[in-house]
Structures are given as structure tokens and as C-alpha cells.
């Protein structure tokens, strides 16, 4: 864990150089700062000339500056090790605001791997740009350094850079414009979200079920599953047993197979994806029903059907008994037509013995 603890690094400060760096650290305006991949204001002047790319961090100057400037994010030890971060990807994100925007402007940034992040806020105002006070905050903590401010025409730019290596650098970074009437823009650095399932999975006692969690374009380092006992999350599969099988076909998904379900297995299951930059979780709800539940509904319907059929058949027998005494061959007029049809049927289908068929109905 590369935190702010220091490694004792090579230091060769000489006093004049130190003073020079101090001045550079205090200075806020940079002409090259935004257009090129220029380094921090904290870097001494030599740095700015020699370095054209962020990837070519040189060691010496960082050493000096850090001791003087109160960095919130990258101490000197970090600077040394930043050569390791030369292969980190660079992500840039912008927010634009005007002095009239009422809502807080937010942008969500999903980070999975350690990377260098550039956060830029643009502020458009008609008034005097130089009088606008620019501040950056991480959460509620004021960030003193590591950002640039530039004014072009009527737009004020401010850019904050951070190298995100672990979960401590994640969070909300906000840029503030102005003193009294502050305009705020927020960047939310988050790990990728995990999708479980919104609707509960319905299963029955004795079945086996597969619970799945996946995320869109992410590659977690590890997945773990937890079941909830009361309000405590209990990890699953820790004593490996036959009941639970955790597997995953691809890196961006995981599945938990539970066999021989019982009603105790009901509840919410949480899947945790572990990234370098933190943890993310999703949940799946499992409902276990006994077979009696649909059987009751089924039984009710069957009973209704049997009842209706019995009523109909009984009614038919009753009306037929009534009709039999009055044997004058007057059923219904349609029946007569049908009889005539039947007789025609008999005629035209002699070999088929239709009459037997119609009597048999």
C-alpha cells in the first residue's frame, strides 16, 4: 500500500535551490499548465522546462519541493515512486459552470485500476475573473495544493490532478468558485458498480439455484459472497462444503450455486467485488417457498373445475329427464335443421355410417 508514509529518499537540498522551489510552489498561474501534459505547480521551474510529458518524471526536483509544500496527495516518496506510474492511464474529466447555474454540477467517474486523474472545472462569468476565489476540496477537507488556475478570455479554468492508487484517493472532489455565492462542481470517483438482481428469485424447497452478480466492463481482483444473518454479513464458502459452489465463467461475473435449498436459506445474498481501488457490492434476494404454496392455488382451481363440471352435467341430466316424457321430437329449431343435415350427411357418406356417429355423441 503506497500511502503517505515515507521512504527515506535521497535528498540533496541546497538552500538556493530550495528557495527557488518554494517560490515555484507558491506560484499559481501556469501558461503551459493546461495545454500540455505539464506537471504540477509544485514542480520547480527546471521541471517545467525539461519535462514535456508527465511520464518523464524526474526524481530530483520532486524531492525538494515536497518538503516545503504541503501536499495533500503526493509526498516526495510518492514522487519517487511515480516513475512506476508512468504506465498508468490518464483520465481527464471536465465540468462547465456559469455564475448563474443553480444546481450543483456533479460528474460520476468510475475507476477500476490505478490511474492518473485530471479534474478540470470551467467557470464562465461576466465579472472580473481575477477576483474569483478558487478552492478545491476532497470531501470536506480543503486541498491546498496540486491544482492550477488559468484564465482565458472570460472563462476561468482550474485543474486538479491526482494519482489514484488505492481507496484512499477515491471519493468526492469539489471545485469552488467565489466566496459569497459559491458555485460548486463535484467529481465523484467511484469503483464500478455491481449488478445483482432487483427482483427476488423464487425457488422451492429441495431445488438448487444459481445467484449471479456481474459488472459491465470491469475486472475485479476477487469476488466474495456473504449471506446476512440478522444484521451481520457472514461469508459463504469459507469452510468449503458441498452446499455452496462459487464459480465464474468470466472475470466480470460470479455465480453462487446453492444446492438443496431449505427455507432457512431465504434472504439477501451480497456479492463483493474487490478492486485495487476499493470494494463494490451487489445483492440478490432469494425466496424459498414450499410446494404447498402453489399447490393450494392449484387445488382451489381444480375444485372449482370439478364443481362446475358436476353442476353442468347434473343440470343436463335433470333437463333431459324432464324432456324425455315429452317425446314429441321438438328439441330446438336448429336441431331440426341439423337433423336434416344429418340425414343428408348419412346420404352422402354412406360408407361412413354417420348416423351411428351422431347417435354416439
Amino acid at each position: 500500500m503506497r500511502a503517505l508514509q515515507g521512504l527515506p529518499g535521497p535528498r540533496a537540498p541546497s538552500l538556493p535551490l530550495l528557495l527557488l522551489c518554494f517560490l515555484a510552489a507558491v506560484r499559481r498561474s501556469v501558461e503551459h499548465g493546461l495545454s500540455t501534459a505539464a506537471p504540477f505547480t509544485s514542480l520547480p521551474v527546471q521541471e517545467e522546462i525539461t519535462m514535456t510529458k508527465y511520464s518523464n518524471l524526474s526524481l530530483e526536483s520532486h524531492n525538494i519541493s515536497v518538503t516545503a509544500a504541503p501536499f495533500t496527495s503526493l509526498p516526495v516518496q510518492e514522487e519517487i515512486t511515480t516513475t512506476k506510474y508512468s504506465n498508468l492511464s490518464l483520465e481527464s474529466h471536465n465540468i462547465s459552470m456559469t455564475e448563474h447555474s443553480n444546481m450543483t454540477v456533479e460528474k460520476n467517474i468510475t475507476l477500476e485500476r490505478p490511474s492518473n486523474v485530471e479534474l478540470t472545472c470551467q467557470f464562465t462569468t461576466s465579472g472580473d475573473l481575477n477576483s474569483v476565489n478558487v478552492t478545491w476540496k476532497k470531501g470536506d477537507t480543503l486541498l491546498e495544493d496540486n491544482y492550477l488556475v488559468n484564465a482565458t478570455g472570460s472563462i476561468l479554468y482550474t485543474q486538479y490532478r491526482v494519482t489514484v492508487i488505492d481507496s484512499k484517493q477515491m471519493g468526492s472532489y469539489s471545485c469552488f468558485f467565489g466566496e459569497k455565492k459559491q458555485q460548486k462542481g463535484t467529481f465523484n470517483l467511484k469503483v464500478p458498480e455491481i449488478n445483482g438482481k432487483n427482483k427476488p428469485l423464487i425457488t422451492y424447497v429441495g431445488d438448487s439455484v444459481v445467484l449471479m452478480c456481474k459488472c459491465q466492463d470491469c475486472l475485479p481482483l476477487n469476488w466474495t459472497w456473504y449471506s446476512v444473518n440478522g444484521s451481520v454479513q457472514v461469508p459463504i464458502g469459507v469452510p468449503v462444503n458441498d452446499k455452496y459452489v462459487i464459480s465464474g465463467k468470466h472475470a466480470n461475473e460470479t455465480s453462487l450455486k446453492i444446492m438443496q435449498l431449505s427455507e432457512d436459506d431465504q434472504g439477501t445474498y451480497w456479492c463483493h467485488a474487490i478492486f485495487e481501488l476499493g470494494e463494490s457490492e451487489g445483492h440478490v434476494e432469494l425466496v424459498v417457498l414450499s410446494y404447498l404454496v402453489p399447490l393450494k392455488a392449484f387445488g382451489a382451481i381444480v375444485a372449482e373445475v370439478v364443481l362446475l363440471v358436476t353442476i353442468i352435467l347434473l343440470f343436463e341430466m335433470y333437463t333431459q329427464k324432464k324432456k324425455k316424457p315429452s317425446d314429441d321430437g321438438k328439441e330446438f329449431e336448429q336441431g331440426e335443421e341439423l337433423k336434416l343435415d344429418d340425414s343428408n350427411g348419412i346420404e352422402n357418406s354412406g360408407p361412413r355410417h354417420r348416423k351411428n356417429e351422431s347417435v354416439g355423441q
Binding site: 392455488a297 337433423k339 340425414s343
Partner: protein, 428 residues
Amino acid sequence: MALLANILAWEIPWTVGPGPISSVLVNKYGSRPVVMVGGLLCCLGMVSASYSTNVVELYLTMGFICGLGLAFNLQPALTIVGKYFYKKRPVANGLAMAGSPVFLSTLAPFNQFLFNTYGWKGSFMILGGLLLNCCVAGALMRPVEPKASTESKNKVGVRETDSSMEKRPKKLSIWEKINKYLDFSLFKHRGFLIYLSGNVIMFLGFFAPVIFLAPYAKDKGIDEYSAAFLLSVMAFVDMFARPSVGLIANSKLIRPRIQYFFSFAVMFTGICHLLCPLAEDYTSLVVYAVFFGLGFGSVSSVLFETLMDLVGAQRFSSAVGLVTVVECCPVLLGPPLAGKLVDETGQYKYMYLACGAIVVLASVWLLIGNAINYRLLAREKKKNIHTKESQETEPLKTSQSPNVNIKSGETETWKGTEVNPSERETNI
């Protein structure tokens, strides 16, 4: 995938087969027992599907058993409508067919509810129970008993017919024995052949637009729920179209020319499909869905009425069985071919144009065929009236073929009832 293909290959004969089987059973035992057995089979199929553990079992239970049961329900139900009704038969047919869209539109949300409450296993079980209600429908199908006591002139002829016929049972050929159960002689029936061929052409392009309506809407950029709503609109319009069209078909003006009416309904549907590519936004698609529902409903409501009109109530059960077998091919082939067309051209509009063209072609074929048929029948009827007037009413002469007897019997029927004389049941 290979397993699935194998299952499907084995499955198709079983979807096609039950049609004639149920016709045979209806001819032998009547409608009621067959429907009740069908209801029981459906229920059994669904309940055993809820206990199945893999795809194969699901196919066997839901596909085969349930399919058989459903086939056992359809044939007798249609047959019994023809047996119970004559004057109001088109209305009865329209109402009977109206059941489909009602359940189509209500079962969709109901299924969702069942699935969310009971899971798929419980849902199958409950749906199986609901299918058991087919038995209730079957119980209502009282068998029609001809009164043996009435001794009308017709019956005298019949008695003599019977006695003369029964004197030569040994001379029944195998062909005639088969015909006893399933009337293959229908394939010599001119009206039946016209109906069958027209329907085969029509069904090639009939169901594909329904199936592809929602994907087409999504392709146009409409969201899922609105696209599904289009189908609901269609089903809703269909629900009301069927009985109303049945009423129209029953009117004195239309009923004698019901075959033309059927052709026009088919043409209307075809033109709907041809105009569908003009629909660009959601509102026009809704309009299309309304008109399509109207067309679909009018075709469905007179679909079996026209068959009954052509072959008569007696041979209807066999006719329906044979028609189902033959029509299975275009119904099964149509949507995949349409899908292939969509894949090849990349656009849905060509599929709609093709389906519309096929359906219009079918309607033209039916129109011409039935026009010829009507004319020939009128001519034969005139001939029969002349021959009947010059002979006695005795319909059966052993030397004569059964065909002629039918016609003379038919004229008696016409005279005996108040039916419009141009209404005919043709048997050739």
C-alpha cells in the same frame, strides 16, 4: 444447439400430427369427450412441466402433451359450433374466435404476476389448473342427438339408404374405411382445395408481421414498453373486431357471399402490411396496429366459418384436421423466412412489403377461385333442380355415385329451411 435441433426435428411431427388424430376422435366419439380429454392432457402436461429438470423434459411435457391436448380442444370446439348453429353461425364463430385475443391480452400481465409470486414452477402448475377449465367447456358441449322417432319423408329415404347400404358392408374398400374416420375425399372437393391453397399462401405471410411488430418498433427507436403496447393495442382491437365482423358476416347481404368477404378481409390485411413501411413515428405505428388488429380479427373470425360454409358441418371436423396439417408448413416456415429476409436486407420494410404482397396474392387467388366456384355451383344447382323436378324425391340409387345424392339432398334441405337459397353447402 445440436440437441435443440434434434428435439425440434422430433417435435415438429407431433405438432402437425394431432390435427387429424383429433378429427378422427371427434368423428368417432363426438366433441365432448375429446375436449375433456384434451383439457386433462393440457393440465397434465403443464403440471409435469413444472416438475421437469431439463430442456428435453420440458419439450416432452409442454410441447408434446400440452400440444396434443390443445389440438384436442381446437377441433371439437370448432366442430361443435358448426353443429349447434346454422342461422347465426358466423356470429357464433366470431364470438368463439374472440376468446383468443381476450386471453392474449390478459394473460401477459397475469403471467408476470404469477412468475413474480410463484416462480416458474408454481406458474406452470397454476396455468395447468387454469387449462383444466377446458373440461368445463367440454362439459357444456352437449351432444346433439337426432330424434330417431320423427319419420319425415327424408328419413324414409334415409332408412332405405341405410338398409341398402348395410347390405354390402363387405364391399367397403380400405380407402372407404379410412374415409370413415378421416374424410380424405375432401381433397377432391373443389371449394376445399381453393380454400386450402389460398390459406397456405396466406399463412406464409400472415404471422410474421405480428411476431416482428415489436422488434420493428424498437428498430425505429421506440422503447420496449411502447413497443409491447403496440401488440396490446392490436390484441384489444382484435378482441372487438372478431364478434363484430362475425355479426357483419351474418347479415343477409354478406352471408351468401361470405367467401368474397373472406377474400376482402385478407386483402385488407395485406394492404395494411404494404402500407406499414410508411409509418415512421409512434403514432402512425399505433394506427397501423389498429388497422392490423382489425384485419387480423376479421380474417380470424371468418376463417373457419368459410370452411364450414364450403364443406358443411358434417365433414367439417375432418376438414379442419386436414387443413391444420397442411397449414402447419407455411405457419412454421413463414416467420423464420421473414427473419432471414430481415437479416439479409437489414431492414424490416422489405419483410413487410413481401408479407403484404403474399397476403394480397392469396386474397386475389381466393377471390378468383371462389368466384369460379360460386358460378359452377350455381350452374350445378340449376341442373339439380331440373333433374329433381323430373324425378322422384328418392335420393339414393345404388348405381349412382354418392355425389349426386348429396346434391338432391341438399336441395331438399334448402327447401326445408328458411335459408337463403344461394347459401349452399357444397359437396363434390
